[in-house]
Amino acid sequence: MTRYIFQRLIYMVITMFLIATLTFFLMKFLPGTPLSAADKLSEEQQAVVLEKYGLDDPVPVQYFNYMVGLAQGDLGISFQFDNREVTNIIMERIGPSMQLGIQAMVIGTIIGMLLGLVSAIYHNGPLDYTSTFLAVLGQSIPSFVFAGLLQYYIGVKFGWFPVALWEGWEYTVLPTVSLAIFPIAIAARFMRTEMLEVMGSDYIVTARAKGVNKFGVVFKHGLRNALIPLITVLGPLAVGLMTGTLVIENIFAVPGIGEQFVKAINMNDYPIIMGTTLLLAFMFIFIILIIDLLYGVIDPRIRLAEGE
């Protein structure tokens, strides 16, 4: 196992390197320069600004410099926020996004799994239909419409929670709920499907026949089997949520990284695009590794690439 993990860590480094390289060159394909007033400057003046950002070097040199910096944890300097280090900018912005993402994931998964369980246990009963309906609704209403309604009713009309901004835990409630809708839907649907599958299998029938009650069976045997597809989907989704969702961040005025990223794209702020991409990629790869390892833990029958 240790060998397997070690091997995967090495692959991780290689993958990150490839992603960094690929993104770097993709960035070079994006036209435009980081200058904000390019049309106002003469060519000489533009050259001066480009030199400041090291954009006058040939691309291979830029690439080399970037990689050397990257190896030392230096992501360069932002184009749009003069002189500010990308590492700092990302660190400042990732906090709120992460917090919302994790809260939404935890709440979403728990509620979703409960809904799914209820659905499966009372298969084709009214409870099943209700919870399926809720899940489908959650999945089919665009999150920003939902967020807008929440903000208007809960925030403005009832005044239960702050409308927007980022100043304390109560400010996280509405964005968290808005974000949690999708994980709830996903968790509920996958849970239901898998539980139904599992509950039809022989060993459950056996367990039931031996007198284990319905809930005991569900928790002891069913859950474990349902977990595999669930973590496969929810893992990357969690990363997606943690790395920020522009729309929700905009609506609730959360200083998160999703908004930052889209703005960077619009402003050709390559260092921020690169930095965020790498962070995102790292989190994805890391989560995928964890999930692969969890496969073996959850279901001992699964053996991964070891020794073949």
């Binding site: 490839l18 665009p142 597809p229 496969t232 073949e308």
Partner: protein, 376 residues
């Protein structure tokens, strides 16, 4: 020994021409036939299918059901509320209502009229609160927009900010969104399932490399890909299609892989292999059908993701170029006027929800139908 030989007369040949025991009493059905029969029995699924068919038919013919074109603008009729004869009780009466409050009743009256440009003859006011009880005075104004604008014909879903007929645009938008939905499903099925299946089944080095490739793909944000596509191909349905094709199948591939990893060491696979089944056959006949439930459920999630991805692109100004309509762009446009002209948002949102719900119910039915264990 010979003495005990039974007499041949004691034996009567079995009549082999009419043997009941070997006869298959149920009609011989292939996996697909069987699934289809069970699907047909599932009421929910059939309703879902029916709704989808209706929506598809409406997407095809709806835009031609009135004389307004998708792009016909007329600012003089912008933001008209929906009006359908006979559906007034549903609120589709072509009226706008607004409540104005002020310190005095007169001021509230005045504001109520001013809200609709003081066109007195088309405004009915109703005093909700005359302000005598210490609270603010409230006056509700109801404005007959159609009469005020001398509009003879009705807009069933109202009009948007540019006076375009929302009915026509909604159905045109449904076309785009259905296209994206089917596209996403197809990509998931074809690329995702194959990729995940192969990766998990062969395992070892193949799995390793295939998964690392996925990690690289996941690592590059969709948005960067889309923007590249837009800059190379110009924004439009094609660049969205390609972006979806590049990145849309990854989650499916991961799920299928996870499930097949679980299944491939189970006894029935071993049995099949012992009997000499080829890899191809094992994958197609044993593994994939067993994962089918999940595949379908996951497809149901890639469909909304794809539709919303397109909406998101519109949201940040990189989606379908205006004035083209998709449900995503319509919902985005309507979001701004959520509080005051909700009809602009309402109808596209209902349609998108209907699509999702129909797909989901149908998917549930399919899941049950394809599950060999659910066979009675």
């Amino acid at each position: 020994m010979d003495n005990h030989k039974p007499s041949k007369d004691l034996f009567v040949p079995v009549d082999t021409t009419n043997d009941e025991s070997d006869k298959i009493t149920r009609p011989s059905l292939s996996f697909w036939q069987d699934s289809f029969i069970r699907l047909r029995k599932n009421v929910g699924a059939m309703i879902g299918l029916f709704v989808l068919i209706i929506l598809t038919v409406m997407a095809i013919f709806g835009p031609y059901m009135n004389e307004y074109g998708e792009y016909d603008q007329d600012l003089s009729r912008s933001k008209m509320p929906p009006k359908v004869e006979g559906l007034g009780w549903l609120g589709m009466d072509g009226m706008l209502t607004d409540v104005q409050s002020a310190d005095t009743l007169e001021r509230a009256q005045e504001k109520a009229l001013m809200r609709f440009n003081n066109q007195d003859e088309f405004i009915e006011t109703e005093v909700l609160n005359d302000g005598s009880n210490g609270e603010k005075a409230e006056v509700q104004a109801t404005y007959d927009v159609y009469a005020a604008k001398g509009m003879e014909e009705n807009f069933w879903f109202g009009t948007d900010g540019l006076g375009r007929d929302q009915w026509t645009r909604t159905w045109i938008g449904t076309r785009v969104s259905l296209y994206i939905a089917f596209l996403a499903a197809a990509i998931d099925m074809l690329i995702g399932v194959t990729y995940g299946g192969i990766s998990a089944y062969y395992g070892g080095r193949v799995d390793n490399y295939m998964q690392r490739f996925i990690e690289i793909l996941v690592g590059i944000p969709n948005l960067v890909l889309v923007i590249l596509m837009i800059l190379i191909l110009e924004p439009g349905i094609l660049s969205i299609t390609i972006a979806l094709a590049i990145a849309g199948w990854i989650s499916m591939a991961r799920i299928v892989r996870g499930q097949i990893l679980k299944l491939k060491n189970q006894e029935f696979v071993l049995a099949s292999r012992t009997l000499g089944a080829k890899d191809n056959r094992i994958l197609q006949k044993h593994l994939i059908p067993n994962v089918l439930g999940l595949i379908i459920i996951n497809t149901m999630f890639s469909i909304p993701s794809a539709i919303f991805f397109e909406a998101f692109l519109s949201f940040i100004g990189l989606g379908l170029p205006t004035p083209m309509a998709s449900l995503g762009t319509l919902i985005n446009a309507g979001f701004q006027s959520l509080q005051i002209y909700p009809h602009i948002l309402l109808f596209p949102a209902i349609i998108i929800s209907l699509i999702m719900i129909a797909f989901n119910v149908l998917a549930d039915g399919l899941r049950d139908a394809f599950d060999p264990k659910m066979r009675e």
